[in-house]
């Protein structure tokens, strides 16, 4: 079975049980909409906080579908079949991460622009925010996949998962929000974006390997 065929299976399953994407997007929207209510609608205050709000809400929204990422396959025996599909376990995990990004990360990225504008982010800062969110959501998918694989088979895995993934996601948050902050004060966002890209370059090979080892261990 090729990785593309496996990705097609994952996407078909996500579309068929399509509530995960919608739930993550609605969570993103509702959580972001709480901030103007809590801190007041003054454009200066809100606009300054907007990048941080968008980043934190996107991070939390990306966590929502993670528990089912391997959980559903683990419960119905499909995980054994995936491990026996002829691909290395790391490749199976890489496909899962790609599927998570396509059905959750990418929609969150697309929804981030209108939500940032709703929070009065200055329009000229929007490209920097999105340029950070592109590698950022990819890293979140990769870290999340590794986390989801590691808590597989654990009792209360759903509670463990954010505790495991959120600390690892902190660098992404710092550089991502830092890029917009730098651009807002007239500095170049380039170093922050490059550091984000470096984190992605690190996560791209390591997370699937870790996730692959974890699903093999869970299947035993």
């Amino acid at each position: 079975m090729s990785m593309l065929a496996l990705l097609a299976r994952e996407l078909r399953l996500s579309l068929r049980h399509g509530t995960d994407t919608v739930a993550a997007l609605l969570f993103f929207l509702v959580a972001a909409a709480l901030f103007p209510l809590a801190i007041g609608p003054a454009p200066e205050t809100l606009g300054r906080l907007a990048p941080g709000i968008v980043w934190v809400c996107a991070l939390l929204a990306a966590l929502l579908p993670l528990e089912r990422l391997f959980g559903a396959d683990y419960e119905d025996g499909s995980l054994d079949q995936l491990l026996l599909c002829g691909l290395p376990a790391g490749a199976v995990a890489a496909v899962k991460a790609a599927a998570h990004w396509l059905v959750t990360g990418l929609p969150l990225l697309l929804a981030a622009a209108p939500i940032a504008l709703m929070l009065r982010l200055k329009a000229e800062l929007l490209p920097v925010l999105l340029a950070g969110l592109l590698p950022g959501t990819l890293v979140l998918s990769l870290l999340g996949t590794a986390g989801a694989a590691i808590v597989l088979g654990a009792r209360r895995g759903g509670v463990l998962l954010p505790l495991l993934v959120l600390p690892l996601a902190m660098p992404v948050l710092i550089f991502g929000a830092g890029a917009v902050e730098a651009a807002a004060t007239g500095l170049s966002p380039r170093p922050h974006l490059l550091l984000l890209a470096a984190v992605m370059a690190l996560a791209l090979p390591l997370c699937p390997l870790a996730a692959g080892a974890a699903i093999r261990a869970a299947a035993e």
Binding site: M1, S2, A5, R9, R12, L13, R16, H17, D76, G77, S78, D80, Q81, L82, L83, L84, C85, G86, L87, P88, A89, A219, E220
Partner: protein
């Protein structure tokens, strides 16, 4: 414990295990298990509940790492390349791995191995008497029909080694007969079968391996 003599160099048997042992958690569940399987051969794993027949099957599939012992495929270490070993076998677990959201035929297609790409999904479904249900969502299937769908995955597979965990669970007599035909055809083509079971299986001339 061994079943069948091990022939020397000329033609190494399909699968040979020697001194196999496995842990389940902290407990050593079996040790010194030896088995040998020729092309066209069949091996029944029998034993009381909890004798870890499933663990041995999963070990043969490469899903569980052996604590000791060797497993040879045609004379070479079978577990050195797990992904490669996986393409040589079809595994039927005690769970059916059926996705309720997909259609019956879709379920079959979505997990088909690359080697089985050219084979006909329709023919595989027909072999288990599911031909008329092909376009139905899998959530409509009964437990026995879901089991037959999991068995249809075997009919689609071109792998020489079939590992079956309680294949007749929930099947009616007619379906057991269909399974018998499937197994016989697989063995005629030179395939081998290892099955863990409590019930009588339609496997003529199968060797038996008893686990305590």
């Amino acid at each position: 414990m061994g079943s069948g003599a091990i022939p020397q160099p000329a033609e190494p048997p399909l699968l040979v295990g020697a001194g196999l042992a496995a842990f389940r958690g902290e407990r050593l569940v079996f040790r010194d298990v030896a088995l040998s399987l020729e092309a066209g051969g069949a091996l029944l794993l029998v034993g009381p509940n909890g004798s870890c027949k499933s663990t041995l099957l999963r070990l043969l599939a490469g899903l569980v790492r052996p604590a000791a012992g060797t497993l040879l495929w045609r004379g070479e270490d079978a577990l050195a390349d797990l992904a490669g070993h996986a393409t040589r076998l079809a595994y039927l677990g005690h769970q059916d791995a059926v996705k309720p959201g997909l259609g019956v035929a879709e379920n079959l297609r979505s997990l088909a191995q690359a080697g089985a790409g050219g084979r006909d999904v329709g023919a595989a479904l027909a072999a288990l008497g599911l031909g008329r249900l092909a376009s139905l969502p899998a959530r409509m299937l009964s437990a026995g029909q879901r089991r037959r769908l999991a068995l249809a995955r075997l009919a689609l597979s071109a792998a020489p080694l079939w590992l079956l965990d309680e294949p007749t669970l929930g099947l009616d007599d007619a379906s057991v007969a269909l399974l018998g035909t499937l197994l016989a055809r697989h063995r005629e083509r030179g395939g081998a079968v290892v099955a863990a079971t409590h019930l009588a299986l339609p496997l003529a001339g199968a060797a038996t391996l008893a686990l305590a």
